[in-house]
């Protein structure tokens, strides 16, 4: 679960919690609880030796590792639909809060798994997602295949091949490089 303050900061609230208006904080908490119900957290990790990746593109900082974890994190479509519904009902603050919660929560989910992997395997590279550090967002598509497995046609998320955008929106495709794998 994301920290309350982090979720609020992502929504644009920068003040101390005690300085927020009661109504604002109550609404933010209401949305937090609603979001918990809507979210369907999913985490998938698939590991590959370097040679198994063939000519798959890698971000520069991840070159030269012995092995890699390809990962998918998603909160499902419910959050997107609910946020859209709020916008449709002219309730943009609720939509914003829901969207911010989703962004913070999916990052939190990734961080959680990241920590567990490192605890089990030791130090790896920075967790890296397409769209950052000059590594095109379009690479989401190929890393999605790696994350969920080439042999699984029904994927929990889809990636637009032109834009690299992932649907549902509160999803992250990313990777970590490992020097060694200690199972």
């Amino acid at each position: 679960m994301p920290r309350l303050k982090a979720y609020l900061a992502r929504s644009g609230y920068r003040s101390a919690l005690k300085d927020m208006k009661d109504g604002e904080l109550a609404l933010a908490k209401e949305i937090y609880i609603e979001a918990l119900d809507l979210a369907e957290p999913l985490a998938v990790v698939n590991d590959y030796e370097r040679r198994e990746l063939g000519d798959i593109s890698l971000p520069g900082k991840l070159e030269g590792c012995a092995s890699y974890s390809a990962m998918l994190f998603s909160l499902g479509a419910g959050l997107d639909l609910a946020a859209e519904a709020y916008f449709g009902r002219d309730e943009p603050l609720r939509a914003l809060l829901l969207d911010s919660w989703g962004s913070e929560a999916v990052e939190c989910l990734a961080e959680n798994v990241d920590e567990r992997l490192r605890a089990a395997r030791g130090r790896g590279t920075t967790r890296f997602a397409p769209g950052y550090g000059g590594f095109s967002v379009r690479h989401n598509a190929e890393w999605l295949k790696l994350a969920v497995g080439e042999d699984k046609p029904e994927r929990p998320v889809s990636v637009d091949s032109q834009t690299g955008i992932i649907i549902p929106r509160k999803s992250i495709i990313c990777m970590i490089g490992w020097d060694t794998i200690e199972d």
Partner: protein, 783 residues
């Protein structure tokens, strides 16, 4: 055992997690029918399993399963002979669970109310509480606890007894003190969050906090107030929201996720320890732990804490730094024959008249002086203090010279009193400072050694030496106020030395007080002299004066001087707002109550009408003051006790039929399986004071027995109390039994686990508190 220093360091570096509720979890395991403390002996694995679940959830502190383990509480289930075994096993079980963690998990011995509140809130005594808590603290410490927590306390005097008892057993053990506040930040017997901070903060505790009664939102508001009133670390254990009955037992509607959303706000408000109370389970603690991952303690800013020199009664705090304090001087029998003889014979009525009148005149605190003390015993001093504190919300200044009597008064007084006084010589300080440290309070330092220095500098030096000695004992400057010594100008003393001393103290940031009337001793026109001197002293920075609040010359001059100095008008009491009968009831002036009632009888009003429409109405007004939190439980009980003999006298004057019924008859009982009867007894008192005849069936009463008594007594109303989450359902059983038994009578119910919705579901009516019960009974009998 962790040292207090280590514990303090731990609290500064991270937020510690306490565990959550136990009763509900035991109920879930099918162990609800067994007294929780007995589980340590009969089902130790179940207790250990729950402890382990809390450890796995992230608890840094486990509380032993000894919440109701003090001797009086155990005796309610005839378990008192197992007290040593229970505590030994409880600590061993918690230790085993704690040792399974990969991190350090502390084991704190859990203690709560004895169930027998000390007078005037209940019928118990401070001394009995002290004995019970000493025993439990010793058992827990000897069994190997890391620290102790005293929680869910509703009476500040009982808390004081518990804290003193613990420190008598050990000064090394880390100690957390928590009270149960409602949504207005007040305990059942009237102590506010600020009173708690002032009183408990003096008693060598490591953490102050709050638990139970309300959910996280209300707890947060109360926590923010507490953070402004103390620099000590803070702890919170809210309930999981408001209770609701699910058909089998009471449940709490705030989910673990929702509960955990307050975690960061608690930390931001200053909490160093966070856990859960009723309705919380391991998943709540797990959610809290997750929510606080990576959150660093907020760090309290000293400037956010308003700590002046505060004196306090049970219900109110007076800040000597922020406001001028008028200390009424008239509870002093010297030269007052009637007051002297009545006080020596234990007839407190004339004294209480003076208490009430000084309050009306604008006193902010009352000096209590017994005159020639050899005529008083420790018991009579206890009685006097109980009578006074039940009759006034004003803080007391204990002007008592005998150390034994002073110690007794300090033990008996539930607030933070002025201790009037100690000279600055070594002998006096050696006698008085330990009392100040043990019992709390603010000491008046006389600016003198064995003799009184003539010069201001000499007097100020004496004060500075005394303060240095006090600070070396761990006391702080805010625990002292300096008496610059007003002495008779008629005897040739120079009042300018007094004013000079005042000036030096004020410039050093010390609060000051003067016994102003001493100045004019033996002189004519005393009021004028006192007033003129007081005016000069106020201008220099005097903080408080012991004066005759009934002296208009002095009081008007004082208000004038304060207006000129501060530019603000003092609040004056609107005497016209007080109903004389209400005021007499609240002050315990039974003779005045009788006289006012006799006036009505003399005018030809029938006794029944006087009982219901005069005395009953006055008690109703007392109830309204209680409801609006202008007075608190001890005050309403005190007023009721004052009213009872008069009600009885009126009843004796009524015709037979009238006398037997009064407003109506109410049969009260605590339902089967429930042994809590404080609330029921309070309701009985208030109903009686409201003119109802009350038949009390007692506690742990079966449905069949309630039916039997209802059939025999033919009450107008049956009132049921159910405190526990596991016994509320009995109300439904009683309603059904009455219906099946052919007894048609309205049923009202109350208790911590009851609410409006639940009562309706059971076919009964809900009364939130004793006053609501009185109103409800009146409406049911059409009165």
């Amino acid at each position: 055992m962790i040292s207090r220093e280590e514990f303090k360091e731990a609290l500064e570096t991270r937020t510690l997690m306490l565990d959550g509720g136990y009763g509900t979890c035991f109920f879930d395991e099918g162990l609800g029918g067994v007294p929780a403390e007995l589980l340590n002996l009969e089902h130790p694995l179940s207790v250990e399993k729950l402890h382990r679940e809390y450890v796995d959830a992230g608890a840094d502190i486990l509380l032993t399963n000894t919440f109701c383990g003090n001797r009086p509480k155990l005796a309610e289930n005839s378990l008192q002979d197992k007290i040593a075994e229970i505590h030994r096993e409880a600590v061993a079980i918690a230790r085993r669970a704690a040792s399974c963690a990969r991190r350090r998990v502390l084991v704190f011995g859990d203690m709560t109310s004895t169930g027998r509140l000390p007078k005037p809130a209940g019928s118990g005594s401070f001394h009995d509480c002290l004995i019970a808590y000493r025993e439990q603290a010793e058992l827990l410490i000897n069994a190997g606890c890391d620290g102790l927590i005293i929680e869910t306390i509703t009476d500040i005097k009982e808390l004081k007894a518990a804290l003193i008892a613990v420190r008598e057993i050990s000064v090394e053990i880390p100690l957390i003190a928590q009270m149960a506040f409602d949504s207005s930040g007040t305990t059942l017997t009237g102590a506010s969050v600020e009173v708690f901070a002032a009183v408990a903060g003096d008693l060598d505790v490591d953490v102050l906090g709050m638990n139970c009664l309300v959910g996280p939102a209300e707890t947060l508001q109360n926590l923010r107030r507490l953070a402004k009133a103390t620099t000590l670390p803070l702890s919170v254990e809210p309930n999981a929201g408001d209770p609701r009955f699910d058909g089998k037992m009471t449940v709490y509607d705030t989910s673990a996720a929702e509960f955990s959303l307050y975690a960061e706000e608690f930390v931001e408000a200053g909490a160093s320890i966070i856990g859960g109370c009723c309705g919380t389970r391991p998943d709540y603690i797990k959610a809290l732990s997750a929510a606080l991952k990576g959150v660093v303690p907020a760090g309290r800013r000293p400037r956010d804490v308003r700590l002046g020199t505060r004196v306090a009664s049970r219900t109110s705090v007076f800040d000597l730094g922020g406001n001028f304090c008028v200390i009424g001087e008239r509870i002093n029998p010297t030269g007052k024959k009637l007051l002297r003889s009545s006080m020596r014979s234990g007839d407190w009525a004339p004294m209480l008249e003076e208490v009430a009148s000084q309050g009306r005149e604008g006193a902010n605190a009352l000096d209590i002086n017994f005159g020639v003390e050899k005529f008083f015993t420790e018991e009579s001093v206890s009685d006097a203090i109980i009578a006074i504190e039940g009759a006034t919300p004003l803080p007391l200044s204990l002007d008592i010279q005998s150390l034994d009597l002073l110690e007794r008064a300090l033990a008996e007084y539930p607030g933070r009193p002025l201790i009037n006084s100690s000279a600055c010589d070594d002998e006096s300080l050696a006698a008085k400072l330990p009392l100040l440290k043990k019992y709390g309070g603010v000491m008046v330092l006389l600016a003198m050694d064995k003799d009184i220095p003539e010069s201001p500098a000499g007097r100020f030096e004496a004060v500075k030496r005394a303060l240095a000695r006090a600070l070396a004992m761990g006391l702080t400057r805010d625990r002292f106020i300096v008496d610059a010594l007003a002495m008779s100008v008629g005897a040739g003393c120079d009042h300018r030395a007094t004013l000079g001393t005042l000036r030096m103290c004020a410039e050093d940031g010390l609060n000051t007080v003067l016994g102003v009337s001493n100045l004019s001793h033996g002189m004519p026109n005393r009021s004028g002299i006192n007033a003129a001197f007081l005016s000069q002293a106020v201008e220099i920075g005097l903080s408080a004066a012991i004066i005759n609040s009934g002296d208009n010359v002095v009081m008007e001059t004082l208000y004038g001087a304060l207006l000129l100095k501060t530019g603000k008008l003092e609040d004056r009491l609107d005497e016209s707002a007080l109903d004389p009968l209400v005021e007499a009831l609240l002050s315990g002036r039974s003779k005045t109550v009788s006289a006012l009632v006799d006036e009505k009888l003399s005018s030809g009003m029938p006794p029944l009408e006087v009982s219901q429409n005069v005395l009953g109405e006055a008690m109703e007004k007392v109830g309204a003051l209680y409801e609006s939190k202008k007075i608190f439980l001890p005050h309403i009980l005190f007023a009721a006790e004052t009213a009872f003999p008069v009600f009885d006298r009126l009843r004796g004057m009524m015709e037979g039929g009238e006398a037997s019924r009064g407003r109506g008859k109410v049969l009260l009982a605590t339902v089967e399986g429930d042994i809590h009867d404080i609330g029921k007894n309070i309701v009985a008192t208030v109903l009686r004071a409201g003119g109802f005849e009350v038949a009390d069936a007692g506690k742990n009463v079966s449905s069949a027995e309630i039916l039997r008594q209802a059939a025999e007594l033919a009450p107008d109303i049956v009132g049921l109390s159910a405190m526990m989450t596991t016994t509320v359902g009995r109300v439904s059983e009683v309603v059904a039994a009455l219906a099946e038994g052919g007894v048609s009578v309205p049923v009202i119910c109350g208790g911590a686990s009851m609410n409006d919705e639940l009562a309706n579901l059971f076919g009964a009516r809900y009364a939130r508190d004793s006053n609501a019960a009185l109103s409800l009974c009146r409406s049911l009998v059409g009165g």
